[in-house]
Amino acid sequence: MPPQIKRLLPLFAAFIGLFLLVRHFLVPESFGEYGFYRGNSLGENAAKLPHYAGKAACAECHDDMAAFLASDVHSGLSCEVCHGPGIDHANYADSIGIDKPKGREFCGLCHSLNPARKKGVVVTVDLSDHNVEYDCIGCHNPHKPTELKEP
């Protein structure tokens, strides 16, 4: 065997050996458990904290409001679509409150006139024309919107 090979072969073998050794310590634990990824990542992704409580959680305490809501056209709505994320309020109702949206623009997000909003799916009004002096909730109870009252 020529002296070049005699010198190079062990050098390369040592290099590869060192690489494999270092790799052994650097591969993260749980890698490859379920597939080509760090298995623990599944748990980490699942452990993130929710911000929305879900309608069922609201109904636990506010069952009367839930029943009231169910009697009119907003029955399909989740409480948090208007009131915002409520997990903190659900867990600490005494100390942490929840939002109540204000202003016409908020209702307009669903109900403003737009040709892409189909009749039968949602009622739309021209916000620049329809009772502009009042807030929407002046006449419409947000939990029972078809039952009008004097503003």
Binding site: P28, N45, A46, P50, P85, N114, A116, K118
Partner: protein, 250 residues
């Protein structure tokens, strides 16, 4: 000599039987096994969106940002809503101002509109996902339940997956330098809660469910409607089924 012949014979039988038995299992492309759980009773998540019901309120996009701590600037979206306006001259106008979070105003005069509708977009949680295929380090993956997730402690921020996603679902978190995307609210669905977007949708246009359960409402949705996925020619195995997906939608 005799024992060697015996050995070769045994090896040939073993090799041949492996080859033959492999023919009974459908050949999955070498580069990715279609990631469906082998056991049909295992849960396999899919998504349904009914375009007929979407009113473009943008509550889904808004809720997603709140739920998942996505930066509020208009450059990072796990989900967003697009408005398509097809005019009488057949030109198509598409817009998504701040992902639809602030709602939509129609700038085209009603008499010029031929057709207009809203299309919510999100990660399709493909089961032949090109983003999973191209990640060089295994930082994005298909969970056993069919949710495509990101391992942000392993991601090196090379952005290959961002380039590979045909639907534009991925973005880079500005301060972390790693990739982020819709997780189907994995942290919620594993606790029996709805994803935030599904939870707040006022018309029930968005739904998710178990594609392995014939009784699942998602399966009924798929059965009762003409559903389509986005860019089917790319064979991504998208599990996001749209009802009334118009031809112009990309």
């Amino acid at each position: 000599m005799k024992s060697r012949r015996e050995f070769l014979k045994a090896a040939a039988i073993a090799g041949g039987s492996v080859l033959v038995s492999s023919m009974f299992r459908p050949f999955n492309a070498v580069v990715f096994a279609a990631n469906e759980p082998a056991n049909p009773t295992d849960i396999w998540y899919g998504i349904g969106i009914d375009i007929a019901k979407c009113i473009g309120c943008g509550r889904c996009a808004n809720a997603c940002k709140s739920e998942n701590n996505v930066p509020r600037e208009p450059f990072f979206f796990r989900t967003w809503v697009e408005q398509y306006t097809i005019k009488n001259d057949q030109s198509v106008k598409v817009e998504s101002p701040n992902g639809g979070i602030d709602g939509f105003t129609q700038s085209v005069a009603p008499e010029d509109i031929f057709k207009t509708f809203f299309v919510p977009k999100m990660c399709n949680h493909c089961y032949k996902s090109p983003c999973v295929q191209v990640c060089p380090v295994g930082a994005t993956y298909d969970s056993p339940e069919g949710v495509v997730l990101v391992d942000q402690t392993h991601c090196i921020g090379c952005r290959y997956c961002v380039q590979a996603c045909p639907y534009g679902c991925r973005y880079i978190l500005p301060d972390k330098g790693v990739v982020d995307k819709c997780t189907l609210c994995y942290h919620r669905i594993t606790k029996g809660l709805n994803p935030a977007c599904v939870e707040v949708c006022p018309t029930g246009a968005r739904m998710y469910g178990n594609l392995h359960d014939p009784a699942d409402p998602l399966m009924k949705f798929i059965k009762d409607h003409n559903v389509r996925v986005l860019k089917p020619h790319l064979n991504t195995g998208s599990k996001l089924y749209y009802n009334e997906l118009n031809e112009e939608v990309r």
